[in-house]
């Protein structure tokens, strides 16, 4: 075993502190009894209670939840379809261009994505509101879904689909009855990823939303400009909890699938050997 030197311990501490200290402070102060953000006056859950009585925050939370559910669901369907085409269709004309275009939004600055979507919505005369935010979130989160799903599909044995066709399935049935159940963990983890991305997006949402649909990140951002309140801390803590659960669930789903694939592979090897 490698020695756990003082240097290693120090850099690890600093690294984690850098990453998580701000969040820890935020979480701690969300339980502060005092009205003043920076003065500790004892433990209390008072701000959580006030949050629940604040209709504006509840509305924003409801908008955010709906946007996240709808956009991640649509993104999962579209992203899975795109991944299937990229992995399966073999070499067709313009394949590289097509797959490049799917992944490009991953590296596109959010401001650009947001601005171009805004111009599009204005151009086609779509009123800005929940619908436009859902569409905007769908477009950028579907690339993440398709990355996750296509990496699973790359190792999927196409003979399974052929066997399904051979036994009388239409191509769609083969996908629904064989491919989808097998790649389900990757699809679920793609959905969770899209869900969390939508939950914490500020930039694209502020470009594409209208007065009727304020999401939580927008709410927080504008509230903070008037000064940080303990209520905001409480709200942010809830968001952190949501995102953390989402990310952990996604990685667990992926890991479980990997473990199972590994087990299958080893069992097959034993049988062949």
């Amino acid at each position: 075993m490698r020695r756990f030197s003082l240097f290693n311990a120090t850099s690890l501490t600093f690294g984690f502190a850098f990453l998580y200290l701000p969040m820890v402070i935020l979480i701690i102060y969300s339980f502060n009894a005092s009205q003043l953000v920076t003065v500790w006056a004892g433990f209390s859950t008072r701000w959580y209670g006030e949050l629940l009585r604040d209709q504006e925050f509840l509305d924003a939370a409801w908008v955010t939840l709906r946007v996240a559910v709808f956009s991640s669901t649509i993104a999962t369907v579209l992203g899975t379809m795109a991944a299937t085409v990229i992995v399966r269709a073999g070499r067709f004309k313009g394949r590289t261009l097509f797959s490049g275009m799917i992944y490009a939004p991953l590296v596109m600055p959010e401001v650009i994505t947001g601005l171009s979507l805004l111009l599009l919505f204005i151009g086609i005369g779509l009123d800005r509101g929940i619908l436009t935010v859902v569409l905007a979130h769908t477009t950028f989160s579907m690339c993440y879904v398709s990355v996750v799903v296509s990496s699973r599909l790359a190792t999927f044995d196409t003979a399974l689909e052929e066997a399904a066709l051979d036994l009388g399935c239409s191509p769609f049935e083969a996908f629904r009855l064989v491919t989808l159940p097998i790649i389900a963990p990757a699809v679920i983890s793609g959905w969770l990823l899209a869900f969390t991305l939508s939950l914490d997006d500020l930039v694209i949402a502020s470009f594409t939303t209208g007065p009727s649909a304020t999401t939580l990140p927008i709410k927080i951002f504008s509230a903070v400009r008037l000064g940080v309140s303990p209520q905001i801390n409480a709200l942010s803590t809830i968001l952190i909890a949501f995102v953390a659960v989402g990310v952990i669930a996604a990685s667990l789903a992926t890991k479980r699938a990997a473990v199972r694939a590994d087990k299958d592979a080893r069992a097959a090897e034993r049988a062949a050997g």
Binding site: A163, L165, D166, P181, A267, A272
Partner: protein, 374 residues
């Protein structure tokens, strides 16, 4: 008793079930199947035999509908199958990799095809139970594919492809992953199933013994072409080329020059050696290059010169391969040519006379070998 021999290929009135008509399949500029014409008849157990990469799987995939011929066409019961998608063909395939559905139990794997075409649950269950019994899998019906052994998986794959009682069943190296004993058992099981169900089987194998055991006819392939299509005994006893002779079983090939009178040929094969006397129906031009092929078990070996057979050659034992029931003697003839002779070990080891370095005599009749032009 009036037992008819099963030989529909000899009957001009018989309609073939499958017809390959000048089928060519190219992948890019690589030709995998090269202008191939072949008839396969109903209820045959047809074996495709050939080295890896010769196009066996490609032929299966064209029959199943996963590949379409680049040129030519394939008829099933007289109908061109090119426009029929795989899910509409009365053909089922057992995949080289088994391709079992990992998320379904053994029972659901077998029921999968049945559920696509019928809603009658009782009927499906009955058929699945029948398949489970036939392949002796009843005890494992509830398990997932990764919870059973390789041999059991192979039987699941077989049961799944048999369940729909297809007109034609394609087996792509179905027994490759099995050990010898299980493989032999399963070969007999397959033949039994074939007899009971009357299904036509096309089996791919690179194991020539397997092909000889199960097949009604064997097609030997090389580089996308059929070299010979015949019954196993004809393939073995009367190969049409050095390639086939060499591919199936052990053989001695002697190259030489022919001189023919009637159906007798003398093959001059080495300076200072008597010519080999052989019999043939073929015609060889004087001094044409020819090959004489003879199986080791048809070469008699003895310590004393035995003039009861027309061909007698002298040599020295270089090596002996003891296989239990038989031994193969590797003998170097006077000119350096190696020839193999086989004899059954009817006596215990200690009582047999021939050993390493012994001077021995090889002899064979003039009908023991075959004359080949190529």
């Amino acid at each position: 008793m009036n037992q008819t021999v099963f030989a529909p290929w000899d009957d001009p009135d018989e309609k073939p079930l499958i017809q390959f008509r000048n089928v060519t399949k190219r992948f890019g500029d690589f030709t995998a199947i090269d202008d191939l014409t072949l008839d396969i008849y109903a209820q045959e157990f047809f074996a495709l035999l050939g080295p890896s990469g010769c196009g066996k799987t490609t032929m299966m995939r064209m029959l199943a509908g996963f590949e379409t011929p680049t040129e030519g066409n394939i008829l099933l019961s007289g109908q061109d199958i090119a426009p029929i998608p795989p899910n509409k063909r009365a053909v089922n395939m057992m995949f080289q990799s088994y391709a079992l559905f990992p998320h379904l139990s053994v029972r659901d794997n077998i029921a999968f095809g049945l559920r696509r075409e019928s809603k009658d649950k009782a009927k499906i269950d009955e058929r699945v139970e029948e398949m489970l019994r036939l392949t002796r899998l009843t005890k494992f019906a509830g398990r997932k594919p990764h919870q059973i052994s390789g041999g059991q998986r192979q039987r699941v794959a077989l049961a799944r492809s048999l369940a729909k009682a297809p007109k034609l069943l394609l087996l792509d190296e179905p027994l490759g992953a099995l050990d010898r004993k299980l493989r032999e058992e399963t070969q007999f099981e397959l033949m039994d199933i074939q007899e009971k169900t009357g299904t036509t089987f096309v089996i791919v194998t690179h194991d020539q013994e397997e092909a000889m055991t199960v097949a009604s006819r064997v097609a030997v392939m090389d580089e996308g072409k059929l070299i010979q299509v015949a019954t196993p005994d004809v393939i073995y006893e009367a190969p049409n080329s050095v390639y086939v002779a060499d591919f199936i079983g052990d053989v001695n090939i002697v190259e030489g020059r022919a001189s023919q009178t009637g159906d007798k040929v003398d093959v001059a094969w080495a300076e200072g050696q008597p010519p080999i006397h052989a019999t043939t129906q073929k015609r060889f031009d004087r001094d044409a290059q020819c090959y004489f092929a003879i199986r080791p078990e048809k070469v008699h070996i003895s310590k004393e010169r035995d003039d009861s057979r027309p061909n007698v050659l002298q040599g020295k034992v270089i090596d002996i391969a003891y296989l239990g029931n038989i031994s193969t003697y590797h003998v170097r003839l006077a000119d350096g040519t190696m020839m193999k002779a086989q004899s059954a070990n009817t006596r215990r080891l200690a009582n047999r006379g021939i050993t390493w370095e012994d001077e021995v005599w090889l002899s064979f009749t003039d009908t023991a070998g075959v004359m080949l032009a190529r």
